[in-house]
Amino acid sequence: MKFGVVVFPGSNCDDDMIHVLGTVMGQEVVKLWHKDTELAGFDTSDCIVLPGGFSYGDYLRSGALARFSPIMNAVIDFARSGGYVWGICNGFQVLCEAHLLPGALLRNDNQKFICKNVYLRTATRQSALTAKLDPEQALKIPIAHAEGRYYADERTLQQLQANEQILFQYCTAEGVISAEANPNGASLNIAGICNEGRNVFGMMPHPERASEAVLGNTDGRLLFESLLATVGQEVPS
């Protein structure tokens, strides 16, 4: 599995992601410029990452302009052919704008930019990203966003539940999914979802900021380990 991290103007978590994938997890990873029109050298066993940040300054709507960057046609084709695509924070917003994931991310209900550690429960193990995670464990992973309130209409939310497309839900440190544990007003406490094909993942929390002991938190690393182990890639100890 090879990784490509797309850099949009205004992305700012691209280097963190490349550091974790390359240096910490020992994987082959390349930067992809948003003006590229194809994903040369990638096949559907690989993973394209849309990193966090403020693509196009969040102008108009978060992710709306990046969705029409030249590389996105190739990313959409890649996802539709079954390749892995993983969007984090602004990357999640871009994937929703591109309709690779259902729903949208609205302004946080408290109208604030929230940057803090939150806790997540794994809602399903039916995805490469979550297959090796413990559904009972509350993972501590930071969020940093102003537009992270996941919203979809009732019918879509029911489909997400029926198809087990909800990957992560905000919970308390004890693992209780409650209104108090919901930092932004997201429907059903949703922090991350996947598409019906289970190859496109989107999440607001930043696992790449919680993957090294020196940073005081390694819960995020479990997601990288799950993805790699599930696709049969060697996981460094």
């Binding site: 108009l60 729903g103 609205l106 302004r107 946080n108 408290n110 109208q111 979809a152 209409d153």
Partner: protein
């Protein structure tokens, strides 16, 4: 021919608009009575070239649907007139 489109994009009625709510809550500081609700959206003014008003309308409709509004969370309306 040049046309000017005036486009309004608003959050769906049933969705919480925290920005509008915060502004509404602060109206009391202006000592204005009777303000019941505030909803905040965007107004977009676009100048475009088209052969006819119908063509201009079609272009604006496409721009709204594809980019200017996200119909999952917003509604849009617009008017087109010759510049």
């Amino acid at each position: 021919m040049k046309f000017i489109a005036e486009i309004d994009v608003m959050p769906h009625k049933e969705l919480l608009d925290p920005q509008g709510k915060t502004v509404a809550n602060n109206m009391k500081n202006l000592h204005l009575a009777g303000i019941e609700d505030v909803r905040i959206g965007k107004h977009i003014k676009m100048t475009l070239d088209a052969a006819s008003e119908a063509e201009a309308t079609e272009k604006v409709e496409t721009a709204c649907k594809k980019l200017l509004a996200n119909v999952i969370m917003e509604t849009y309306s617009f008017s087109v007139k010759q510049a």
